[in-house]
Symmetry: C2
Subunit: 240 residues, 2 copies
DNA sequence: GCCTTACGTCAACAGGGTTGACCCAATGTG
DNA sequence: CACATTGGGTCAACCCTGTTGACGTAAGGC
């Protein structure tokens, strides 16, 4: 059922509407479908209709729907990490990795909400994990620590990205209501019951903003503090 | 459709099997169903069967499935934070807060996965935000910094908890496949193409474990390092 | 030009959420 | 006590979903 046959060996026969199917075409069409009509628009039948083929033809390329979702997730990772080369500064490199992954997810918020928590087991993900762990090894961490630290790092990045993507995937009305909540509901509170909120009252509208970079920076600070070898460049000297 | 009629005014008529329905009973039964028969057990038909009533009777109490999920989420939040009182050690208190929220989500992963990214604006949430920001103010942070730090903290906690809940909410087959991926796929890789993964090969099965506590500890370390005033008690001396 | 078989197609099944009609009994009123 | 009202439990039905097995056709190797 699944794509056990190598891509080049396939006997690609045009569908009734003349389209030549391929894994890439299916994944790309699924991403477009989700981006245009929401993550609930991704169904085998709808995808078949969008591709111009019988829905069950997809089962010749993917074992089941979950297999397709994993392929979509790996495509997002691959696009996000395309052309990335780690530099000398491992902290800066991990930071760029975080920002790239986040940007990739935010580019497809509805698909990200579907695929963010999965292990794709495919090449793009494997490549990214190798790069990230390599950076931590270069920082002097022992293998066991490097693996654990990378897991904490990437889970934080992916979790935050998924949260932001889920927020962007909300219908505009609910999204704005959530954003306004910090301005409206949290402004007229009993000072006795909520002293801390009253003290920081003027800062609360900012709670609707993203905490992604702040959280990543805090995590990287802790990692740098734990690293056996100190960072090569502490003064921001070395360019790109 | 929804529960516009006050609970006490309801004309509660026993079902065919003699059960008296109520919002509380339905929510409780839904939680029990999820806990006993796995995450995929929550469906209107199954819930009706478990309650001993026609499935569509639920629509007299909740507008739709989403409405029911939100009611469940509200119960979870209330239960998780019930009885929590912050102690003298602000780091330890934030840590307990994180663990409580996480435990509440993991106890009901399916419901949590569906409602984790919503802003409730209800008293439990407001109370929690006040407590958390109060702890950061007691650490010496200025109002603006306290608000930003709390946002980074709670977003990390909620994002990680949602990720873990989403994983547990997966159908058992997909969940096990994701877990096995780190043992199977990642073991036979080309050492030249993936040098870092090869170096930490023996540590990779642990990648299926949770990074929640590691991530929270790293974040709290960074917060403690940034705090203007040092922690009051470093040796665990003061009793409750 | 044959033979094999990959793969697109079709019909069907089991499960899902949701709706509208139906009707009984619980409740408010006299 | 009796009546009118209506809340709410029940039932049948609709349309959606993922997935499977049979079927046949055309593509590629020889």
């Amino acid at each position: 059922m699944s794509s056990r046959v190598p891509e080049e060996r396939r006997r690609r026969r045009p569908t009734r509407s003349g389209v030549l199917l391929s894994e890439d075409l299916i994944v790309g069409t699924a991403l477009r479908l989700i981006g245009e009509h929401g993550s609930e628009a991704l169904s085998v039948r709808r995808l078949g209709a969008a591709l111009g083929c019988d829905p069950t033809a997809l089962y010749r390329y993917f074992h089941d729907t979950d297999d397709l979702v994993l392929a979509i997730a790996d495509r997002i990772i691959g696009d996000a990490m395309a052309g990335f080369v780690p530099g000398d500064d491992w902290v800066a490199s991990l930071r760029e990795m975080a920002l790239r992954v986040r940007a990739g997810y935010l580019a497809h918020p509805r698909a990200a909400a579907l695929a963010a928590h999965r292990v794709t087991r495919r090449t793009s993900e494997i490549q990214a994990v190798d790069t990230g762990i390599g950076l931590l090894l270069s920082a002097g961490f022992e293998p066991a620590a490097a693996a654990r630290m990378y897991l904490a790092f990437i889970d934080t990045v992916l979790s935050h990205a998924a949260t932001e993507a889920a927020f962007l995937a909300l219908p505009g009305q609910q999204r704005e209501a959530d954003r306004r909540a910090w301005r409206d509901v949290y402004q007229d509170l009993d000072p006795v019951a909520y002293p801390a909120l009253t003290a920081v009252r003027r800062e609360l509208p900012g709670m609707a903003d993203s905490s992604f970079e702040e959280a990543v920076d805090l995590l990287l600070e802790a990692l740098a503090a734990r690293a056996p070898t100190h960072r090569a460049s502490t003064g921001g000297s070395s360019p790109g």
